[in-house]
């Protein structure tokens, strides 16, 4: 009888150990990404709410980040059922930006940055999920890559979000859908740096970053820029592929030059 109760106790201990260990997984998932290539299957935050909760203590905290800027979140736009811009020669924006991302990633890693991609393959995360990937990082900037349908061939433009209307909220919380608001100044500084390097490489490109109401940038709680390259209407895809090293180098050098300017804005409250 005693032997039976001992076996029962032992099995109960084993069972509890089995059930307790999976419950630790979510808290592990909340840790900031430390690897250089996190799998999209284990995103740091997969929902706006989750990311918002996670970022309350980090990007809007009063204290500066101890390690400063060290992560670049790279967003190859579109994907999955959304091909983005399409050229007459069958060129798809979603495919080209993924190829560009490989080169941009390599250039950033050479500059010492950790790179987190919002998609690795032909998936189409929502705008909010892409922003959530960035918002869950500490000390990060966000770069979304695009290829346009129009514009002078062989040029590249950087966009930062247009001014967002101020929020009337007595508790000082930033609404999730305007997460970019406190970062607009930093985004402009970062955008101007990258655009400067692009203008040196690609003649006819503007000298400074431009503003536009880019949906992807609005919900991103980090210095965030969109880089758009012209265009999918090239006769030969090789013309676009030839631009990739220059674009990668400009983004990497821009991020490195921006590093000393990176100071987390002080905002009471956080995201709501």
């Amino acid at each position: 009888m005693r032997f039976l109760s001992l076996i029962g106790l032992l099995s109960a201990t084993v069972l509890s150990a089995v059930f307790v260990s999976p419950s630790q997984t979510p808290s592990q998932a909340q840790q900031p990404a430390t690897g250089t290539s996190p799998s999209p299957a284990t995103p740091v935050a997969t929902s706006p709410q989750g990311a918002a909760a996670g970022s309350v203590a980090s990007p809007f905290g009063a204290q500066a980040q101890p390690n400063g800027l060290n992560i670049v979140v790279l967003d190859p736009a579109h994907g999955g059922t959304d091909p983005g811009a399409r050229g007459t020669g069958g060129i798809r924006e979603s495919e080209i930006v993924l190829d560009f991302a490989i080169q941009v990633r390599r250039a950033l890693e050479l500059q010492g940055f950790q790179v987190v991609q919002t998609r690795q393959g032909n998936e189409d995360p929502s705008f909010d999920d892409r922003s959530a990937t960035a918002n869950a990082q500490r000390g990060a900037v966000f770069v979304t890559l695009h290829i346009s349908s129009t514009g002078m061939q062989g040029t590249a433009r950087v966009y930062v979000n247009s001014d967002l209307p101020p929020v009337a909220d007595s508790n000082g919380l930033i609404p999730w859908d305007r997460a970019q608001m406190p970062f607009l100044g930093l985004s402009k500084t970062f955008g101007d740096l990258v655009q400067g390097f692009l203008a040196q490489r690609f003649k006819g490109s503007p000298d400074a970053a431009q503003t536009a109401s880019v949906r992807q940038l609005r919900t991103t709680a980090a210095p965030a820029i969109a880089v758009e390259i012209s265009s999918v209407t090239v006769e030969n895809r090789a013309d676009l592929d030839r631009m990739a090293p220059g674009v990668a180098d400009a983004i990497a050098r821009g991020a490195a030059a921006f590093k000393p300017s990176y100071v987390v804005p002080t905002v009471t409250g956080g995201l709501r």
Partner: protein, 224 residues
Amino acid sequence: MTPRWKFLFVSGFIFALLAAAIYFPILRRRVKRAAKMQQQSEEQARRELAQPITINPGDPRVKARVFWASDTIDSTLVPVTVELPLSRDPVLRSKQVLNTLLAGPVDAELRTLPPDALLLAFYLLPDGTAIADFSEALATSVPSGIVSEQLAVNSITRTLEANVPQVQRLKILIHGQEVETLAGHLDLTGTFVVSTKPASPAPASAALTPDKTPGKLAQPERKP
């Protein structure tokens, strides 16, 4: 089979073949005509929905500034002066200038909006917020990209700014619905700034009501 039956069968077969040879072209023409009629009725329905603005000859002819793409500087807008009879009512006036913008310039290459896009409705709220409702073609036919989508929206806002001082902000709807982006990039969930100047008082007759057409959004009358 007796020769009589064979004769009957062959003549029946030849008769059926002749009848089919005569009837099939007629049937084909009928199907084509029906398809054309259906296409015309769809187009008619779209046009009726869009309610084209009738030009009132009594309206004063003014030099309207309409913003289309520049033929010299890439991805920029230039104002083109077009002499039009424009209403004093800000809603009708907005519809008139936007329909002119949609009709496009002489050089079709300089269009900023798709040729099949239509303005379905236009409202103006008392605070100067305008709501322009476009057909789905605006979202589906505009070239996808930040630069092209911004050029499309800027041509709308700058044309309104130049011709309708009462409009301060613009909200764009697609087929009566709020959409997240125009064609995958430009954010349509908010409003676009049209003018930062204070709105000039509207003519008393206009009273900033959205439209005179029944069934349109009407603003509640405010009594002092």
